[in-house]
Symmetry: C2
Subunit: 131 residues, 2 copies
Amino acid sequence: MGKPTRTKQLDPAAVCRSSDPMAVRELLTKVGDKWTIFIVLSLDLLGGRARFSELERAVPGISQRMLSSTLKTLERDGMVTRELFPEVPPRVEYEMTDLGRSLLRPTQGLVDWVKENWQQVRDAQSRYDER
Amino acid sequence: MGKPTRTKQLDPAAVCRSSDPMAVRELLTKVGDKWTIFIVLSLDLLGGRARFSELERAVPGISQRMLSSTLKTLERDGMVTRELFPEVPPRVEYEMTDLGRSLLRPTQGLVDWVKENWQQVRDAQSRYDER
DNA sequence: CCCATAACTTACCTCGACGTAAGTGACTGA
DNA sequence: TCAGTCACTTACGTCGAGGTAAGTTATGGG
């Protein structure tokens, strides 16, 4: 009798049931950074379109540097558009694209999960820590 | 006529439509780290229960250090349980909890989004970069 | 002449995530 | 006696995300 070799081999590409597991990680990394969700959800709350300074006020604690760079990434990824009005002082408006809006659905799923389950996570952490 | 003061004030706590926006960010940060999704989805693919070495093989490129520390975080958060069998050499089995499984649903939503929209992101990046 | 304003950029620094490599403990089989 | 196995831990080093603070640009208003 051979010893029970329970070594199921995994197709590396099959992880995530996705043709591109790296893309999934890349997206999660983007969305999981410090400011992206706050900016995206604030922009949505502001009606899908807002100026730089509005977002600055809407996201408490963010610095101009981080707001600027996060918005630039969002723009590069096609999640928002940037429109510059050549006035003085300058005015810039950011608007969510359809692509950006489409990401809100699955994201809201995570928000809902937190609403329902976060207390359980907190409890588990407490149980783990004491002991 | 007053000039259009479009300054909608945001309730900081209302961002994310959640009572605890920080919790949402915390979750995203956890899930958005380098190895968590791969481990969680691999564990699911392996039937919800697997040994350390099985996961090591299932997640190509991960080091023992990162597998160990990520699993420890997952355990602390109540996403997986750890069972040690006092044999020599030791055997340890990790199993997804109901809480962990419940997170798979919204996560799968993101996986699906990537499957359908990632090419658009790639295209947007290309358009942004050339120019 | 000088200041305020909006939307940035630049310089500099810190700190933690993550990688690499080696060590550990307890036992088994050769 | 010695190598091998598994599931780790420890030590050490790098690198980049992100914080802080100051500078920039162009113009109208006092």
